[in-house]
Amino acid sequence: MRALNRLLSLLLAMALISGGLLVAAEAAAALVGQPPLLVPAAQWAADLRGRSFANQDMQLVLSGVAVVGLMLFVAEVWPWPKRLVALGQDEHGFWWLHRRSAEKQVRRIINRATIATKTRVRLQPRQAAWNLQIDATAASEARGDIEQRARALLAQLGGPQTTSVTVRIHPRRDGKRVTDGPP
């Protein structure tokens, strides 16, 4: 969302600059009695004078614009996962942790140090506590080890003591047990 907004803002900025220059130039040309430079404004005005809101083309355009506007609005107000997790504040300033990098690090450690494979990790900061959710393909006996490794890493990262760690174990699709350790 962050990158999309940045891109949209850049496009809007360029549209405002080029559109504004064009509008000013067209108005200046009309003021001195010159023909339109690029925009046949009189033709467009005549077209809009002959077109009502009940016109089917107008309804199609308005419907499209409404859908795009609604999609963009929902995307903007949607509670996307936060990019940064607060590590706290002290006399020096605010300290933050990049959420996705922390998720990757947890995944790397679990895949390397336990028998789990295909691990998915989701870190959700909630007020003073964090919520870590781990989905792993492994034998059910590995649950304790996975949780312990994750808690140890979170403690190293300075996560709150009250972090809740949820480990969900998924069996392999082919029915075989995942019991071998990492290579």
């Binding site: 360029m14 419907s63 300033g93 990262l157």
Partner: protein, 194 residues
């Protein structure tokens, strides 16, 4: 910047959606059949435009230039790191005896950011450091991103705090606000050169 962009696009999308829905309601006859069959550019609107005469064109030209100015501001804000201007050079006046000019020392703004970056990179476990200083050179806003390969963030935090103290002690600037973000990365295999 990100929050402002999000607010900007939330407002823009809401205005676009509302205007389109209003148009659809008009076309569906919610405001009467007269409004639905009325031209998009109605005669009263055209009459008002024609009554303004030359001033209408002058107004449009001014509006166009205003849009250019808005676009320029938006473009500048997007291209700046963090949406703010980097700090100017830091001028330090030497303490004279009050009678004579004792001179100045000028430290280039980017050099200040590079100095603290270099100090942060010396911390064990820090692979890369990127620092931005914004606003007043004497009380800047400091934003740092540290790519760290060690999981022991407490130790890195302590040493980064010492870097900030050294920065204040050597330059005389005390950052107004400090934001330091850690990004966990895999340890670089390239040899460290410091």
């Amino acid at each position: 910047m990100d929050r402002r962009n999000r607010l900007l696009w939330a407002v823009i999308s809401f205005v676009i959606f509302s205007a389109a829905v209003a148009g659809l309601l008009v076309s569906a006859g919610a405001f009467g059949s007269v409004a639905a069959t009325m031209p998009v550019l109605s005669d009263p609107l055209i009459d008002a435009w024609e009554q303004l005469g030359v001033w209408a064109l002058v107004g449009v030209a001014v509006l166009g230039l205003f849009l250019v100015w808005l676009g320029w501001r938006l473009l500048r804000a997007q291209l700046r790191q963090g949406g703010q201007a980097a700090i100017q050079d830091l001028e330090l006046a030497a303490r004279g005896d009050g009678q004579r000019t004792a001179g100045w020392t000028v430290v280039r703004g980017p050099a200040l950011a590079r100095s603290i970056e270099a100090d942060l990179r010396r911390i064990r476990g820090v692979e890369r450091a990127h620092v931005g200083l914004f606003g007043s050179p004497h009380h800047p806003e400091l934003r740092a991103q540290l790519a760290v390969s060690s999981g022991d963030l407490e130790s890195i935090r302590t040493q980064a705090a010492r870097c900030l103290e050294r920065f204040t002690a050597t330059t005389g600037t005390s950052p107004r606000t400090v934001d330091i973000t850690f990004r966990l990365v895999q340890k670089s295999t390239a040899p460290r050169v410091s």
